[in-house]
Assembly symmetry: C2
Homo-oligomer: 598 residues x 2
C-alpha cells in the first residue's frame, strides 16, 4: 500500500529561506503568519493529509462514487467522515476574509496545504477545492447580499460549491454555450440546459451545493459576449437562509472515468432551476477568467502533488526491492542482490522526479505569492506587477507542471516493474489521477495558447520583459560565484534560448498566425524549464547562505539541495536547445497535409 | 465508441516498395509470399481485426477476466467465439514449419498481422501471441518427440502456451529464482514454486495450456547458471497424447491491473506438478534469451499498434469536433466553429503520431525481416549479419516504440479533452493497455542496458559498426538529391550525434561503469530516432521513385508520405542533440546523493 509523508521541511525552506515570506509581513494577513505559526499550520496539514486523507485514497479509487436512482450520489466509504474532520478543523477558511468567517491567512499558505491534500487524496481534495474556487468567484463578483447569503456557509464547509462551464458540444469554445436564463421579473432567473463534467457536482458531503453556472440570458448576443454568471443552489434557500425547496437541477449521471474515482463528475440537468445573476449581465465569461488564474494554479499544484507522492513511493520501493548487482560493485553483500536504488537508470528516474518536484514547489509558491501581493498590497505598482507576473507564469504552472507531473507518475510506476501495473500497489492510481490535471481547467494546449497569444503580448510584453530582466540579472549576479556558477550558467543559457525563441515568435507569428499555434506547446515547456532553473538558482543561493551561516546542524539537507539542483541544471536543461530548435523549424511541415490525408 | 481500420496500404508500401520483400523470394517460405498472396493475407487479417476483434475490445476492458473458486478463469464475453474464429482460420500457424501444421510463411508477415490484432484488441492478441512464443521456444530447444507432442496442437490453436519466468521476489534478476524441480527417475520432474504475472496463465479458450517454466533442478548451482526450462502441461497427456489428468499447477489468483483486462494475468502455484526438461540442464535461461529477441519485437509491435489505433481515433475526433476558429481564418463558415484539426497544436499532436507510426512500422518490419533472413538464409555470412542487426535493433524496437507508443496514446487522449478521460470513449483504454508494453518482456530500462551493455560491445562492436556504415552510406548517397536532402541531412546529423555518443560511452563507461547505466536510456532513444530517420529516408526514396514512375494514379499517397517524413525530420530530429548532451553531462550528478537523501 502506498504511503505519504508531507514534505513540510521542503515547504518551509521555500517559504522561509527562498521566498523570505517574512519580508511581506506588512501585507494584511501576513503579519499573523509568523514562522512558528506557519510551521504549526503545515504540521497540522501534514497530519491531516497523512492520517486522515491518504488512508482512504485507495478505497476512493476502488469504490468510486455511486449515483442512485433518485439522482443522489454517495461518496466512497470514509469520505464523509474525513470531510467532517476537514470542515471542523476550519481548513476551508484559511485564505478568506475574516468578515465571512475566514482566517485571512496568505493564499500562499493555502497553496502549501493544497499540495499535501492533493498528494494524499486528489479526488477528496477537489470537493473543498471547488468550493474555494466558487468562494473566490463570489467574493470578487457577487453583491454584498449574495456574499452574506452564501460565502460564510461555504467557507465553514457546511455547503460546497461547483463551477458549471462545459456543455456536451462545448468546452474550450464557451462562445457556443446554449444553457439559457429567463428573467422572472423578481430578480431571479429560470435556468435550463445541460452541463457536463461538473466535478463535485452532486454528493453527500454537505447540506447544500452552490452551483455557479454560465448561461445565456434570453435575447443576449451570440458568442462570448452574451454569457452571464449565475448562482444556482441545489436547495433554494428559505426565508431564514437555510436550504429549503429542491431546485430544478438534477444529476443525470456520473461519468466513469480513468481516475479521480472518489470525486463525482456529474452531468447536471437544469430544468427551470432558480438562479440569481452574479455581477453584470453578459460579463460572465470575464468573471470566470479573472478567477481562472487561481484555479489553474490549483491544478498545477495537483500535478506537483501526484509527482511528489509517486516519487516518495518509488523511493521506498527502490530502497526495499533487491534485484541485480550494482554495475560498479556489490553494495549489499549481506543480501542476495542490491536494492535497485543503486542502479544508475533508477537513480536517473528518481533524480528527475526529485529535482522537478523541488523546483515545481518553489515555482508554485513563487507564483502564489505574486497572487497574494496582487490582492493584498496597497502599492498600486507592486500590485499590478505582481498580477502581471502571476498571469504570465500561471499557464506555465498549469501546463508544464501537470505534463511533467504525469510523466513523473508514469516513471515512478516504472520503478515498480510489473508491480506498478497491478492496482493493489497503488502506482497506477497516481498515473490515472494525475492524467486529468493535463485536461481540465483548460487543456494544456490551451494553456500554451494562453501564454503565447494572450500573456506574452499583453501590455506590449511588459510582464515578459520584466521577467526576463529579473531572471537575467539574477544569473549575471551569481555568474562569478564559484559554487553558484553551475546554476547561473545553465540558467543564463536557457534564458538565452527562451529569449531567442520569443524573438522568433514575434517576428514570425505576426506574418503567419499558425506559427504561434505551432510553437506554443514547445514554447511553454521551454519557458517552464527556465522558470524551474530560476527557482534552482534561488534555492541554491539560499542553501549556500545557510551553509555559510553554519546550517544549524542541518548541513546535509542544504548540501543535498545543491546536489539535486546540479542534476537539474546538468541533465534537464539541455532540453531548452531542442525546444528552441523545434520552434524555429516552423509550422510549415506541421500544416502541410490536407485534413483528408490523416 | 472507438473504431479501427487496418493500415493495409501502409504495410504493403513498406513490404513491397521500401523493403522490396520480393528480393528475398529465394528464401524458404518467401517464394509463396507473392505480392498478391501478401495482399490477400493482410486484407483478411485486417477484416479479422476490424470485424471480429475490435468490437469486443471495450467489453474485454469493462468485464475483464473472472477467476472462480475452483481456480478456473473465464475470459470476457465474446472472447471464446473470437478465439474459435481465429483458430479455425489458421492464423496461429502462419510463420511455423509445415511439418507441424504451419504455413511456413515469413515471420515478417506474421508481424504485420500481429500489429492489426494488437491494435484491435491487445488483450486478446496476447493469448495466441504467447502461444506463438512458446512454440518458437519448443521448436528451438525441445526434442523431436516433445515437438511432435505439443507443437501441432499449439499451432492449430487447440492448446495455448505460456512463459513462466517471474516470481514474487524476482523479475529482472532471474538468478534469484527459487522454483524447484525434482527428478523422478523416469525422465520427468516434479515442479514446485510460485510464478506470478503469467499472461494467459489460466483461461477457458483452449482444452490444454502448455506452460514453459524456468526452475532450478535440485542441487543445481545458484544464480543464472542453475536454471533449467521445463514444459508443464495444465493437463498431463494420456497415452494417446490427449489432455488427461489435471497437473499440479493451479491459478491462485488473477491480478487486477491498470489495463489489458481481457487477458488473465495469473499467479500460478506449482505443487509437485509433472514437468519435462526442455533442452539441457541448467541452460534454461540461455534458451529463453534466444527467443527473447522475437518476443521483444512482438512487444514493440504492441507499442506501435496502440499508437496507431489511438492516432486513428484522435484523427476522427479532430475532424468531427468543432471548437473555436482557425487562427489563420475561418475554415468551416457553414458551422458555428471549425473542426479542431485546423488548429496547429492539434496538428502537431497528429503529425507526431503519424510520422512516428509510419517510421515505427517500417522499423519493426525491417527488424523482423532480419529475423527471417537469419532463420531461413543458407548464406552463413548473411545469416549472422542479419542476426546481429536484429539483436542490435531489438531493444530499440521494444524500448523506444513502447515508450513513444504510450506517449502517443496519451497525446491522442488529449485531443479528446474531457471526453478522453471518460472510459466510455475508449481513449483511456488505449493508454492503460499501452502502459504494460513498457514494463513486460524486460522493462525499458533493461532494454537500454541490454543495448549498451550487451549488444553494443558484442563481437567488438561489429553490428553497430555495420549499422552505422549502412546508414551513413545511405545518407551520403542521397545528400545531393534536391528532394531527399531534407531527409539525408538530418539523418546524417543525427547519426553524427549517435556516433559521438557511442564514442563517449566507449571512452567513459570502461573507466566508470555508472556512465553506461546513466547514459543508457537516453542513448537508446537517440539510437531510436536515428533508426526512425533511417526508415524515413528509405520511405522517402521509395515514394520518390514511385512518383517518378507515375505513381499509378496514387500520387497523393506518395506526396503525403514525403510531407509526413519532412515533419519528422524537421520537428522530431532536434531531440538527438539534446539526448547527446544529456549523455555527455555524465552520471556524476545522478549518483551524487546517498540513498538516504531520497
Amino acid at each position: 500500500m502506498p504511503t505519504y509523508r508531507a514534505p513540510v521541511e521542503d515547504t518551509l525552506f521555500v517559504l522561509n529561506d527562498v521566498l523570505n515570506i517574512q519580508r511581506y509581513n506588512n501585507l494584511p494577513g501576513f503579519e499573523e503568519a509568523s514562522p512558528d505559526m506557519i510551521e504549526a499550520i503545515l504540521g497540522e496539514a501534514g497530519k491531516l493529509a497523512e492520517e486522515v486523507l491518504q488512508p482512504i485514497n485507495r478505497i476512493g479509487d476502488e469504490e468510486g462514487c455511486t449515483r442512485h436512482e433518485d439522482g443522489s450520489v454517495t461518496t466512497p466509504k470514509g469520505f464523509k467522515e474525513a470531510y467532517d474532520t476537514y470542515r471542523e478543523s476550519g481548513w476551508g477558511g484559511l485564505p478568506f476574509p475574516e468578515e465571512y468567517g475566514g482566517q485571512n491567512l496568505p493564499a500562499t499558505l493555502a497553496t502549501c496545504v493544497g499540495e499535501y491534500v492533493a498528494s494524499a487524496n486528489m479526488a477528496f481534495g477537489m470537493y473543498p477545492g471547488l468550493t474555494g474556487g466558487a468562494v473566490a468567484a463570489l467574493l470578487q463578483h457577487a453583491s454584498e447580499e449574495q456574499k452574506q447569503t452564501y460565502v460564510p456557509k461555504m467557507i465553514s464547509g457546511e455547503w460546497s460549491g461547483t463551477m458549471n462551464l462545459t456543455e456536451p458540444h462545448c468546452g474550450t469554445d464557451l462562445g457556443l454555450l446554449r444553457t439559457k436564463a429567463v428573467p422572472q421579473g423578481d430578480g431571479s432567473y429560470k435556468i435550463s440546459g445541460q452541463k457536463i463534467f461538473i466535478s463535485a457536482g452532486e454528493h453527500d458531503l454537505t447540506s447544500n451545493i452552490i452551483h455557479l453556472v454560465l448561461a445565456r440570458i434570453e435575447g443576449a448576443p451570440e458568442g462570448v459576449d452574451g454569457i452571464s454568471l449565475f448562482v444556482v443552489p441545489k436547495f433554494v434557500l428559505d426565508a431564514d437562509g437555510n436550504p429549503g425547496e429542491r431546485n430544478g437541477v438534477s444529476c443525470g449521471s456520473i461519468e466513469e472515468k480513468m481516475g479521480i474515482h472518489g470525486n463525482s463528475t456529474a452531468v447536471l440537468n437544469y430544468d427551470d432551476a432558480t438562479g440569481y445573476l452574479v455581477g453584470e449581465e453578459n460579463r460572465g465569461l470575464k468573471a470566470m477568467f479573472v478567477m481562472m488564474n487561481e484555479a489553474r494554479l490549483g491544478v498545477g499544484v495537483q500535478g506537483l502533488a501526484q509527482s511528489e507522492v509517486a516519487y516518495q513511493n518509488a523511493v521506498d520501493y527502490a530502497k526495499e526491492r533487491v534485484q541485480g548487482r550494482s554495475i560498479s560493485g556489490v553494495k549489499a553483500p549481506d543480501k542476495k542482490a542490491d536494492p535497485i536504488i543503486v542502479h544508475p537508470d533508477i537513480r536517473r528516474i528518481l533524480m528527475r522526479m526529485k529535482s522537478f518536484n523541488e523546483a515545481a514547489r518553489a515555482l508554485v509558491l513563487w507564483t502564489a505569492l505574486k497572487g497574494d501581493i496582487h490582492h493584498r498590497s496597497d502599492d498600486a505598482e507592486a500590485k499590478e506587477a505582481a498580477d502581471e507576473l502571476m498571469g504570465l507564469l500561471t499557464p506555465i504552472v498549469k501546463g508544464v507542471i501537470t505534463d511533467r507531473g504525469f510523466d513523473n507518475a508514469v516513471e515512478a510506476q516504472q520503478v515498480y516493474g510489473g508491480h506498478g501495473y497491478v492496482e493493489e500497489w497503488g502506482m497506477s492510481q497516481f498515473v490515472r489521477d494525475a492524467r486529468i490535471a493535463m485536461i481540465y481547467e483548460g487543456a494544456n494546449g490551451i494553456q500554451a495558447l494562453d501564454l503565447v497569444g494572450r500573456k506574452l503580448p499583453r501590455k506590449g510584453g511588459k510582464a515578459v520583459q520584466a521577467y526576463f530582466a529579473e531572471v537575467g540579472a539574477l544569473a549575471d549576479e551569481h555568474m562569478g560565484n564559484e559554487d553558484l556558477k553551475a546554476f547561473a550558467e545553465p540558467l543564463k543559457k536557457g534564458l538565452g534560448e527562451l529569449q531567442a525563441a520569443t524573438m522568433w515568435l514575434m517576428q514570425n507569428a505576426t506574418q503567419n498566425p499558425d506559427e504561434a499555434g505551432g510553437a506554443s506547446t514547445d514554447y511553454m515547456h521551454l519557458f517552464g524549464l527556465v522558470a524551474f532553473a530560476h527557482m534552482w538558482l534561488l534555492m541554491a543561493k539560499a542553501a549556500q547562505e545557510k551553509l555559510a551561516q553554519g546550517a544549524n546542524g542541518n548541513a546535509t539537507y542544504y548540501e543535498n539541495k545543491l546536489a539535486t539542483g546540479r542534476f537539474f541544471m546538468a541533465r534537464m536543461m539541455p532540453e531548452c536547445g531542442m525546444l528552441r530548435r523545434r520552434i524555429e523549424a516552423g509550422a510549415e511541415t506541421m500544416m502541410a497535409l490536407d485534413a483528408e490525408a490523416f
